[in-house]
């Protein structure tokens, strides 16, 4: 009886073949829709920070480091949702198929894009990237007043208040 059962199994296994994937020795099963690690194109990226605001786990962060603005991508926290690629106005972010990211060092999981900054002409604080200012200029056909383009948001508020004040009251805001 046992012998018969064994023969039954043998016929099934011969028909069905091996189910096991030989993964390390063959290519992994990656579908066209698969989303892996993202890649930021340093040529297209303007450092606007749209991706950092949409990123659910805040794997993408943007911040000042001295005189530079650095867009940091921490693969270790990324959930591979692809929202950053969807929202990027410059189409600088592409979703790759790379998922074999295992590493010894946490530092290996960081990708950084370093931007040069524009300094506020009033307070001298670096507040945005050179490429972002250029992109804004391009998008509004150079219609923005030159004196407002290189002023940080804080100083711009004060400047606008002063302008309105001088118009309404007729006194200079100084």
């Amino acid at each position: 009886m046992r012998m018969v059962k064994f023969l039954k199994m043998l016929s099934i296994s011969v028909r069905e073949g091996t189910a096991t994937r030989k993964y390390p020795f063959e290519s992994p099963l990656v579908t066209p829709e698969f989303r892996g690690k993202i890649e930021v194109d340093p040529v297209k990226c303007v450092g606007c920070g749209a991706c950092t605001r949409i990123c659910p786990p805040k794997a993408l962060t943007i911040g000042n480091e001295g005189d530079e603005i650095v867009l940091k991508y921490f693969e270790g926290r990324c959930i591979f949702c692809g929202m950053c690629a969807y929202v990027c106005p410059q189409k600088a972010i592409t979703v790759s198929k790379e998922f074999e990211l295992a590493t010894w060092e946490l530092g290996d999981l960081y990708d950084e894009v370093v931007h040069t900054t524009v300094k506020c002409r009033i307070c001298g604080k670096p507040f945005t990237t050179v490429k972002f200012v250029k992109e804004v200029e391009k998008r509004i056909d150079n219609k923005v007043p030159e004196d407002l383009l290189t002023v940080c948001p804080e100083c711009r508020k004060k400047l606008t208040a002063r302008k309105i004040g001088s118009k309404v009251v007729g006194v200079s805001g100084e």
Binding site: A19, T20, R21, Y23, P24, P28, L29, P42, V43, K44, C45, V46, G47, P56, P57, K58, A59, F74, E75, G76, R77, C78, I79, F80, E98, F99, E100, L101, A102, T103, W104, E105, L106, G107, D108, L109, Y110, D111, E112, V113, V114, H115, T116, T129, K131
Partner: protein
Amino acid sequence: MLAVSDGGKPDLTMSEFALNKLEEVFTKLKRSVWVFHLNTGSCNGCDIEVLDVLTPYFDVERFGIKLVGSPRHADLILLTGPVTIKTIGKVVRAVKAMPRPRLVLALGSCGVGGGIWFNTYATLGGYPQLEKILKDAGVEVDRVVYVPGCPVRPEAIIYGVAVLLGLLQPKSKHRRVSAVEG
């Protein structure tokens, strides 16, 4: 600090011989790693992928990797989840119960960096934060490999184990490029 109560027993130490020849131990440890699956408050996504690795489809038993029920029998801990505050004591005790050399595979974006729970009040935020607590408790971990993914793919787990055992070199490298005009 968070109490890790186990009767104040000293940490299990390796013999002098084994400590001096840690590298030799690792060269011998190339196959038949016994793994213990430690869930530290995970969403179960990574846990399902860990089970996937053990099914006939990926069948890691062809490499001798076997899931065991107790950390005392294990060489490697598969740590999933962002380490919630409630689990810290138990996690430290489980890691402490492992014999040296202790290996840890931090799985998933939660295990590596806390995932979307990296800065909440109820979690530590992944293995790097847990490592500090382990150090305070006097528990040494000999090797760690971080495997990102949400959830981690079964292939990525196999790849992570291969990196951990020194069979493969990690592909990820720190990249710092300046944005060029174009």
